[in-house]
């Protein structure tokens, strides 16, 4: 148990661990009661029944807490879930509550949840629902995954004052990364400007809300970086700069085994089996020996990849793409185009005969046939 807590580097294989800002949240429901009781003896760890409750406790929020204390948690929450709600909007909402006379967390219970959602939208609705009713609200669980960071440093022989040189160094580094990783999405850039003295060190962090592509949006990223760098006032000449790039995390694939760490595409056979197990009809056609359209194929659930599997007779290739069970029609009027004749006997010796025609009717080419009794049937639409 203790090993899991310390093994932060390997925690990304477990879906039962989540990082929320500076808090590590562990889902202990999978553990035996013995271990749960054992871990309860540790004072630095906070326990509760639901994630919302435990996070609120960790932030020191309870019924009588001033509502302003909730503001920090709200900011962290919306930041973490990359919500479009800005810090200004958060301030505005809390100011609004203040004007309404809602000063304590417990006062929120008096406001109907639906009213909050109507007034400020679903994001706020979900947030206040979690705050007011923490035990019964679901927390958006995002398993922790170790972030991958690209890092590079440049040292200057002569101390640098001009931002142009720094900008050029950054540009070269970003371009070299974009060539190596052409599909990389960008989440964050951290630029450390190392001065000659430690007091003069500066650090510029750029968060990208929509994770732009490093290669495609390179011009825009460089423009933004340039603008930000121009706003900086160097306290002393720079001796080195280091650039850290936090790429966008790839969405995890379907986990098929405990040891699968990379996204993989499930092959057709697997997906067929999985869908069949759930009652969905996933199929490939299997050609049967009969030449009668409705009996000439069936749905085969086992997937075959052999290329010789498809050897349709020439006559079947000229058959229409849309086919259905024969239905009676009156004798067609107009020009008919003969396509094929089917003549067969069933096991009882009864004779069947069909003459198939294409007939243009109501802006469509219908596939019709005349049987041995002289009756007309429609069986498909040429497409």
């Amino acid at each position: 148990m203790f090993g899991v807590l310390n093994g932060i580097g390997d925690a990304d294989i477990s879906p039962h661990c989540m990082k929320f800002q500076k808090l590590w949240i562990y889902d202990l429901r999978i553990f035996n009661e013995f271990w749960q009781n054992k871990i309860k003896t540790k004072k630095e760890i906070i326990f509760d029944k639901s994630v919302w409750s435990v996070v609120l406790k960790a932030y020191g929020l309870q019924t009588f807490s001033p509502l302003l204390h909730l503001q920090k948690f709200a900011k962290d929450y919306f930041d973490h879930y990359r919500s479009p709600i800005s810090s200004k909007q958060i301030e505005k909402v809390f100011h609004h509550f203040h004007r309404l006379g809602v000063h304590k967390l417990g006062h929120l219970q008096k406001i109907p949840f639906a009213q909050i959602q109507t007034r400020w939208g679903k994001d706020w609705g979900d947030f206040f629902k979690g705050v007011v009713d923490p035990e019964f609200t679901l927390w958006k669980w995002e398993p922790y995954r170790k972030p991958q960071v690209l890092e590079a440093s440049s040292f200057f022989e002569d101390p640098v004052i001009h931002m142009e040189i720094i900008k050029e160094t950054c540009r070269q580094q970003l371009e070299s990364w974009s060539k190596i990783y052409p599909h990389l999405g960008l989440e964050r850039i951290v630029l450390n400007l190392g001065a000659q003295t430690e007091e003069g060190d500066q650090c510029l962090e750029l968060d990208f809300g929509n994770q732009p592509s490093l290669k495609k949006e390179m011009d825009w990223i460089l423009r933004v970086l340039e603008e930000r760098l121009l706003q900086l006032q160097l306290q002393s000449p720079l001796q080195q700069i280091s650039i850290k790039l936090f790429p966008k995390l790839k969405s995890p694939g379907l986990q098929l085994s405990l040891f699968q760490k990379q996204d993989t595409c499930t092959n057709f056979k697997d997906i067929c089996q999985k869908l069949a197990a759930q009652g969905f009809s996933a199929f490939q056609p299997e050609v049967l020996s009969s030449n009668v359209p409705e009996d000439s194929w069936r749905k085969a659930e086992s997937y075959k990849e052999s290329s010789s599997f498809w050897s349709l007779p020439q006559s079947n290739i000229t058959r229409p793409l849309i086919q259905y069970a024969p239905r009676n029609i009156s004798e067609p009027k107009g020009k008919l185009y003969f396509t094929e004749r089917l003549h067969w006997f069933d096991e009882l010796g009864k004779e069947f005969k069909r003459d198939y025609y294409l007939w243009f009717s109501h802006s469509r080419w219908l596939w019709i046939f005349k049987n041995q009794a002289g009756q007309w049937h429609e069986q498909g639409i040429a497409e």
Binding site: L28, I46, Q202, F208, W297, Y303, W310, I322
Partner: protein
């Protein structure tokens, strides 16, 4: 039972604190509408017999993995698979008539990440279902063709198909979600020869 543990080693604070506007979260101006990395929805409008399905096969780039979803399978599957094989497409057909199970089915297919093209053949989707599908597939690089008679709001492009003599006429239009910024899409007309119809009428019927 859930627990939290306050991180013991917090990250080193930056040496100099900058004003909030200097480190504010940045959003690319075209990002919200950019779907170059995500899915693209194309609606294919056309009556039965106008060649919608053959035209869709023509529009799919060769070598793709395709899933063909229909509520009631009325296609002569051996022919569809033969046509797909000519374009080296790997095809899987799925028949599901129960509307309430569609979302589960889509989730399964999404999780499998096995298909690059989805063809939705006359499922008569509701807007909510369409937007659900769009939301679901937004991070996948898949192409979705929606064969439908009714105009939908969740598609970026629309193509109306008509059969004219021996040609399928494809009239490309912007869909409701196409703001004009995407790939500089310009409405235009395209035609695909309906050679199969010509061969049936001219070659097979020559002696009749």
């Amino acid at each position: 039972m859930v627990t939290t543990d306050i991180e013991l080693k917090p990250e080193k604070p930056p040496a100099a604190a900058f004003p909030a506007w200097l480190t504010a979260k940045l959003v690319h101006p075209t990002a919200k509408r950019s779907t170059t990395n995500g899915c693209s929805f194309t609606q294919v409008l056309g009556a039965e017999g106008s060649g919608t399905r053959r035209s869709v096969l023509e529009l799919i780039p060769p070598g793709k993995k395709v899933v063909w979803l229909a509520s009631e399978w009325r296609i002569y599957a051996p022919l569809l698979w033969t046509l797909a094989q000519k374009k080296q497409l790997q095809l899987l057909g799925i028949e599901c008539a129960e509307r309430k199970r569609w979302r589960n089915l889509w989730r399964e297919l999404y999780e499998a990440k096995a298909f690059e093209v989805w063809v939705i053949d006359h499922l008569h989707l509701k807007n909510a279902e369409g937007f659900f599908l769009k939301q679901l597939l937004q991070n996948l690089n898949v192409q979705v063709f929606v064969l439908e008679d009714r105009v939908h709001a969740f598609c970026e492009k629309r193509v109306r198909i008509q059969l004219q003599h021996h040609e399928h006429s494809l009239n490309w239009q912007k869909g409701a979600l196409n703001s004009g910024g995407k790939n500089n899409f310009i409405p235009h007309t395209q035609s695909i020869p309906a050679s199969y119809l010509q061969s049936i009428r001219e070659e097979l019927c020559s002696g009749f």
